[in-house]
């Protein structure tokens, strides 16, 4: 995993044998495993993604936008997959795709901004935290110090769960990033007590470090395997694939697709968006399989909330609550997990969540990275083989 010079350097320092023997290593997490977060920004309508097609209430609540017939691919006797995501059917059949039903949290907030803050910080509905959940984790259980960077944010949607973390970078074009970093002024000074200057100095230090890790062989010239779609998300995931194939050391890669706030004409808009999601994820999976890296990857989708059970009058849906989410990867136990919320027992027109989103986070910590959960009352789901 390490490039030669760094390995030599560490060996020369006598660090490698120590690391190998250190009992701490066994406890410090399985950091060869990578988490890829896919944010569906705007509030993705889960009911029209994983569709309860045999439930008559579904069609009653959504006479105008309910999906049926050739717009659904069969997942089991009750649920159909929006065919916009048909490109994920091979992953479903191969048992690589888990659908976790009814993901949400108590006392849901229907504000885009507050709700994504809750997802990003793993806070309770009534509690405001400033640090993202991965920042909280990394301050307690950090990936190895020689990592290129702990987190890589490839979308345009901000640090999210990495907010407040010491080590992450946001970038769009790695070549340009490395080139620009070489020309950026050296900063030797301390930032003093000004928090804004401290932020700039931290970002600068992380730029220098990540640029060193991404230079040379840190990023593959092309992604292995299939071609990626020329969409925003397709390009982000192609970049993710190149970083992983290039063996730059990174724990988390976050990508984002926005536009899910479908108050009007939802069916066509969501179809276009989910098609982008499906095609990009299918290409990413193909690429990682081709590179023999799929077992090291866990992909998770998330969104600030699902949408109202009933459609509104504009062929769309207003802000709601729980929704299903995907976990995808070589070690994932495919199939349905958790309970789909009942359409017969809505709360003010909204779905009642059945799986707390922090259970997904606990699963990632305990079963994927093999570190203690920060949310001990949220048990890990049996998702990872």
């Amino acid at each position: 995993m390490m490039d030669i010079s760094r390995r030599h350097l560490l060996a020369g320092m006598g660090v490698l044998p120590l690391l190998a023997l250190s009992p701490r290593m066994a406890l410090a997490g399985n950091w060869s495993r990578i988490l890829v977060l896919v944010e569906l920004a705007g509030g993705n309508d889960g009911l029209n993604m994983i569709v309860p097609q045999t439930d008559p209430l579904y069609r009653q609540l959504r006479p105008g936008i309910a999906l049926s017939g050739d717009r659904l691919a069969r997942l089991d006797e009750r649920f159909g997959l929006n065919t916009a995501l048909a490109s994920l059917m091979p992953a479903w059949r191969d048992g690589d795709l888990a659908v976790v039903q009814g993901v949400g949290y108590p006392d849901p907030d229907r504000s885009h901004f507050r709700s994504i803050d809750i997802w990003d910080t793993a806070s309770d509905s009534a509690e405001v935290l400033t640090q993202g959940w991965l920042a909280q984790l990394f301050s307690r259980e950090a990936p190895p110090g020689d990592f290129t960077t702990e987190g890589l944010v490839l979308g345009h949607d901000g640090a999210g769960p990495l907010a407040g973390a010491k080590r992450f970078v946001e970038l769009r074009n790695p070549g340009r990033f490395v080139r620009d970093a070489k020309r950026s002024p050296a900063l030797s000074a301390e930032a003093g007590s000004n928090p804004v200057l401290q932020h700039i100095v931290r970002v600068q230090a992380e730029i220098d470090r990540a640029a060193a890790g991404l230079a040379g062989d840190g990023i593959a010239a092309t992604a292995p395997g299939l071609a990626f779609p020329k969409t925003g998300l397709g390009q982000q995931l192609e970049l993710a694939a190149r970083v992983i194939a290039g063996q730059a050391q990174v724990a988390v890669i976050k990508v984002t697709l926005g536009g899910f706030d479908t108050h009007i004409n939802q069916v066509s808009t969501q179809h276009r968006l989910l098609e982008e999601v499906g095609a990009a994820l299918a290409a990413f999976r193909g690429s990682m399989l081709a590179a023999g890296l799929w077992d090291r990857i866990l992909v998770m989708t998330y969104s600030e909330f699902g949408r109202r059970a009933a459609e509104n009058g504009s062929g769309g849906t207003d802000h709601g609550t729980a929704a299903p989410h995907f976990l995808l990867g070589g070690r994932v136990r495919g199939g349905f997990h958790g309970q789909a919320p009942s359409l017969a027992s809505l709360e003010n027109g909204d779905l009642r969540y059945t799986t707390d989103f922090r259970q997904l986070y606990s699963t990632i910590l305990q079963s994927w990275w093999e570190v203690p959960s920060l949310w001990p009352d949220q048990p890990s789901l049996g998702l990872i083989a």
Partner: protein, 491 residues
């Protein structure tokens, strides 16, 4: 980026040509030309009949006031003009000189009647594609128009407030699609930027761009759409925690039927589509209209507090000072929601000038771009690069990322945007490619000025630099080092 100097223009001979036109006389580029230019600039400025009593605010406070209400920087001429005034006089002068209308002529197409939905439906696929391309082109022109205005305006405070409201009552070209509507919304925000906040909200509730952006156009009695009502409460007037889900649903009923009529180009509340039943909003019941709901909203104490806090974050500090904010909210209420009264209060307060708040705000992308251009006295030959750079730096004007607008603050600076900012400063100060000479023009003026080295640094930076410049550095070196110091990113 192609730029030419403010009071001089390059001839059409091309960027490599090192001669300039000055008052119609062709002179050789170089130090003499720059000096003549500077002298003309200085002589154009009339000195104010200033009261130089002990109440004079001085250079440091004048710089702070002008940079925070302008584009993050101020020229030495302006600073000297204001330094001799008291805070009250300075703020009065600033507020009484703001423009309500742009000085830059708009693109020619802003008077075109927008293509209606029905017309669009009747188009062939190819025609639709052409329309889409035309809208895209016009959207970029609109952005360029605003950048141009920001660069040349004699009233930078107007632009800052228009941008503030654009980031508050957001709408985006991506959803609205029709650039004409965004242009009109910009004029609306600009005209109301220093007026009555309640009136601005009333206008926004019937603004075509907003009706499209937040689906108000799709809200009818039998098919309510809550989007506008929710964001009105959460983001425009009250803030989270000051309303209930029920208030949203009931207000959405009151807003139902407000339609932009594409044929006639007017906004009306359709009787057929409006829910005229009894609604209960914030405990009051009635068959409310749009304005009646807004009246109730502005009776909530949270409304003044919410906008006062947002002005505080914009002009003073990311850290709220609840006492100061409550005082500004009080001024807002007493003045009938006068934005000018709130700004006068804020900009003359001790809190605003407190040294603890200096250099604690990050210049937005627009501020770093426009401010640096204004500082150097450059006039862009094309605004296209400004639009592109703004987008790369994370602020694509007329296309905010979400209805919440740009979060700003430290969010402006991440690994990508910091590198882009550094690249930008490098190109401005050292010159790159074709703008080499132009970029150096104003720097040269600063180098030649009567300011001491220490004064130069104090002019450019809100607080001392992170990396102090060696005492023996040349004045040119001092300038380039100062501009590339992280503190130049702050205001």
């Amino acid at each position: 980026m192609r730029l030419s100097a403010g009071c001089v223009r390059k001839t059409r001979a091309g960027p490599e040509d090192q001669s300039i036109m000055l008052s119609g006389v062709r002179v050789a580029w170089g130090w003499p030309g720059v000096l003549i230019c500077s002298l003309i600039l200085l002589s154009c400025v009339t000195r104010p009949q200033a009261d130089s009593s002990s109440r004079a605010m001085g250079l440091s406070e004048a710089r702070h006031l002008l940079s925070r209400t302008g584009f993050g920087v101020a020229t030495i001429t302006d600073i000297r003009d204001y330094a001799s005034l008291s805070r009250q006089e300075a703020v009065d002068r600033l507020l009484s000189s703001v423009l309500r209308q742009p000085v830059t002529p708009p693109p020619v197409w802003v008077d075109d009647r927008p293509v209606t939905g029905a017309e669009r439906r009747d188009m062939t696929g190819q025609e639709r594609q052409l329309l889409q391309q035309q809208r895209k082109r016009r959207g970029e022109m609109l952005k360029g128009w605003w950048y141009q205005e920001m660069v040349v305006t004699p009233s930078p405070f107007t632009e800052r407030m228009t941008l503030f409201w654009h980031n508050h009552f957001t709408s985006s070209l991506k959803k609205v699609r029709e650039p004409v509507f965004l242009y009109r919304q910009n004029l609306l925000l600009r005209a109301g930027a220093f007026g009555d906040f309640r009136e601005l909200a009333r206008m926004i509730a019937r603004d075509p761009a907003m009706l499209i952006y937040l689906d108000g156009n799709r809200n009818s009695a039998d098919a309510p759409n809550e989007n506008f009502a929710r964001e009105l409460f959460e983001l425009f007037t009250l803030g989270p925690g000051n309303y209930t889900e029920r208030d949203i649903r009931e207000a959405a009923r009151a807003f139902s039927g407000v339609r932009y009529n594409q044929q006639q180009g007017v906004v009306r509340q359709s009787r057929k589509l409006h829910d005229d039943g009894i609604k209960t909003v914030f405990g009051q019941s009635g068959s409310f209209s749009v304005d009646e709901v807004l009246d109730i909203v502005f009776q909530q104490p949270a409304a003044a507090r919410f906008i006062a806090a947002k002005l505080w974050r914009e002009f003073v500090s990311a850290e709220p000072d609840l006492q100061e904010i409550e005082a500004i909210a009080g001024t807002l209420r007493r003045s009938g929601y006068s934005i000018t009264a709130a700004l006068r209060h804020l900009l003359t307060s001790d809190g605003f000038y407190d040294l603890r708040h200096r250099g604690m705000l990050v210049k937005s992308p627009v501020e770093i771009l426009v401010g640096t251009i204004r500082l150097f006295g450059l006039v862009p030959e094309s605004t296209e690069p400004l639009v592109r750079m703004g987008r790369e730096l994370g602020q694509d004007i007329f296309d905010p990322p979400t209805v919440k607008g740009w979060d700003g603050g430290t969010d402006w600076i991440n690994s990508t945007t910091l590198l882009t900012r550094q690249d930008l400063i490098r190109r401005f100060s050292m010159g790159a490619g074709r703008n080499r000479m132009a970029g150096r023009q104003r720097l040269t003026e600063l180098v030649e000025s009567d300011l001491s080295k220490a004064e130069l640094v104090r002019l450019l930076l809100p607080v001392p630099p992170l990396t102090p410049v060696p005492a023996d550095a040349s004045r040119v070196k001092l300038l380039t080092m100062t501009l590339s110091d992280p503190v130049f990113q702050l205001k």
